[in-house]
Symmetry: C2
Subunit: 130 residues, 2 copies
């Protein structure tokens, strides 16, 4: 059971990442719960709620074009078979740029058996401060 959940969560995330890296946020949007919250390093505060992330992603649609990426060392911590904390590092090449990320995704199993993300935290590995 635990192994199946882990594989399922990682597969959901990889499929959403692949679409995202081609400029398409829809696969991530389909995974987000209504009470979703979101951190990334380009924002000065958390985004709260599905409508807020939808507005943010709609502006980024078609803007991302990652040539190559690797999800490194994914870990899935399962809570009572009903929630799962996925954490991984992501290395991404976009034209001449190379980005290294930390990522946390909190998945929760819904009443219908589907898994939804309620919280995301993206951050840069070893950035500099302004």
């Amino acid at each position: 059971m635990e192994r199946t959940i882990k594989q399922h969560i990682i597969a959901l995330e990889k499929a959403a990442l692949e679409a995202w890296n081609e400029g398409n946020p829809d696969a991530y949007m389909e995974l987000y719960a209504e009470d979703y919250t979101y951190f990334d390093p380009s924002l000065d505060r958390r985004l709260d709620g599905y409508d807020a992330i939808k507005a943010y992603y709609d502006k980024l649609r078609g803007q991302i074009n990652v040539d190559k990426f690797a999800m490194l060392n994914p870990e899935v911590q399962i809570i009572n078979d009903s929630a799962a904390v996925l954490s991984f590092n992501l290395h991404a090449h976009e034209r001449d740029d190379f980005y290294r990320w930390n990522c946390t995704e909190v998945y929760v199993r819904q009443d219908d058996g589907q898994w939804k993300i309620i919280h995301t935290h993206w951050s840069y590995i070893m950035p500099m401060l302004r």
Copy 2:
């Protein structure tokens, strides 16, 4: 019930932060579960397990001296009354430096009723890339 859990989680975090900001990691260490995982921006990968975070924090003991901090806009997303995702921004003044953080903490209620953290993600708000 939900309101009580939220207040309890925020109080646990604030107490641990206050000790941390005086250079004492013990209050955080007491909150961490055995299968704890940890991201912060100074590391090039995730730390996995209680022993890894203990070794890391032991080196930082007495090194942190935050003069003033504010936990901003804390949100607690509760999952089936048995897990809670705390997210907040932290503004911290340390001598002449000012740090702005995003923070995610995933708390899980243990069989004995105590809440433990299984995952932490600290990151900088709007840093620069190298």
